[in-house]
Symmetry: C2
């Protein structure tokens, strides 16, 4: 007799025959109240309530120079252009995104392990954490597209197999975010409801979804209702500022017709107690440079 | 012997073989200092300096309801759908713009002739004024495109034959302009330099340019320099707020992925002392519903 392997329960069904709204079944802040860490109690309460925490200066201007220089070095490196982990814009042939930068670059590895960074992630997730995804993004001006509304968790659950909402992202600005150049927009409070989307996941969806979303798109009706309930917050700030946001926060960005480019480094931390299993709603796993399978904690 | 008709000098050459920057040869404010009018002296000085004047409440909330109702009536009127003056979005088959609304609608005609509206136009232009163009715009959310950087005067000079910079626009918001739903952006001070663009005007350019610009587009280099010199101001405000802006202000708008639609009424006043002549840089005139040839002053 063979016993079938235990299958992790799907708390957040998505990509079925219809859109569904499900109350969040997981905490937002996982650490015990009063656990020491770099986030003040008020800010942690704000993160729990809103699903985000904006930091005016996470890294210093000198550090911004160093990391921006490293970003420039990587996107201009001919060997990176041939690397699967680089996303090249067809028209300009320029690199727009490089995944797994914490493995490619010692400097970005150190940034991920910096107590200001990983310390906040541990405090929010209440455990050791590993990097589920990291990337640098270069968004030029003069008409670069934005990214439509989505919950990251919806994708990470459906396509990467993260079982619970115990994942947090930080976006560190390496250029100034104006109110005009296509910055991050979040619906505050939206992280407390899971939006299971309609429609099956195409095979190799990830290749297309880096440019344009085909699956995991909320309906106009639901976005209207969420925006009416929660409003929309636009994040602005100097280079060196950062936005922490919950994995299930509904977010997106507009296009950027200004001449002001936007570059950032984006790191996703997942709790070691929430490792990826098989995808919940996709035929195949995404590549490991997009959804990690190495759960070694950041030390 | 036949004497050739006098040809109006072209003070602002454009659409030639290269981009040129020309210092503005016309005043911004044409009325004598101290001429009575609805604009306070400080605000008029600000308009001269910046090229725009934002009014928190040009029309009351009750009036907003009336004009928004009239807009809804027009865009849902089947006879308007068949009218050349209506611009219908191919995908949704919905009306996005109706030109010449001051001739189509008594209510919008009254708005154009309202002392709060035409009075400000006369004060800026220092003469009687006529409507060079009017339109209502309906920009839905969920991904509606914006409009790339341009100077209106560049087009009105090249394609409609306005000789001098003696023209002013007012955009009256009929819905709230958030910082997130693709509002108007202006480079303050940019109105003092004329940017003659590179490239000839295709015939029937206007039919395409309502959707996408092919001519009259500034180069990336010049936009970068202008934005560095002047910065970029995003206009937000309640329904009923208004932005007056000079005909040569460099402006544009981003896309709108929010669920918040944007509707406005847009009226362009030209001085009766600056009537349209033949186009300065286009093979044919645009239709009169886009660039008026009836110079009867608004009374």
């Amino acid at each position: 007799m063979t016993t079938a392997p235990e299958r992790t329960a799907d708390l957040y069904p998505t990509r079925g025959t219809e859109e569904v709204l499900i109350e969040r079944k997981d905490p937002v802040v996982w650490s015990e109240p009063g656990t020491p860490g770099p986030i003040e109690a008020d800010d942690l309460a704000g993160f729990e309530r809103d699903g985000f925490l904006a930091i005016d200066q996470l890294i210093t201007p000198d550090e911004v120079s160093v990391f921006h220089g490293e970003l420039e070095r990587l996107i201009n490196d001919p060997t990176m252009r041939a690397d699967d982990r680089s996303i090249v814009e067809p028209r300009s042939q320029e690199i727009r995104t490089i995944f797994e930068v914490h493995k490619i670059s010692e400097l970005f590895a150190k940034l991920a392990a910096d107590p200001r960074v990983v310390g906040r992630a541990r405090q929010i997730l209440g455990s050791d954490v590993y990097v589920h995804q990291s990337r640098i993004n270069v968004k030029p001006g003069f008409g670069a597209s934005g990214f439509y509304w989505h919950s990251d968790f919806e994708t990470w659950h459906a396509e990467d197999g993260l079982p619970n909402m115990r994942t947090v992202s930080v976006s560190i600005a390496l250029t100034k975010n104006y109110d005009t150049n296509g910055g991050l927009m979040i619906m505050p409070g939206s992280h407390k409801t899971f939006l299971g989307c309609e429609g099956a996941t195409p095979k190799d969806n990830y290749k297309r979804s880096l440019q344009m979303q085909d699956a995991g798109i909320p309906s106009n009706e639901t976005l209207t209702s969420l925006a009416a309930d929660y409003g929309i917050r636009l994040f602005t700030g100097e280079a060196g500022s950062a936005t922490w946001f919950d994995c299930n926060a509904m977010h997106g960005s507009g296009d950027n017709i200004t001449p002001f480019p936007r570059s950032n480094v984006f790191i996703v931390f997942n709790s070691v107690e929430n490792p990826a299993v098989e995808p919940f709603a996709a035929p195949v796993r995404r590549p490991e440079y997009i959804g990690a399978r190495d759960f070694t904690p950041v030390k």
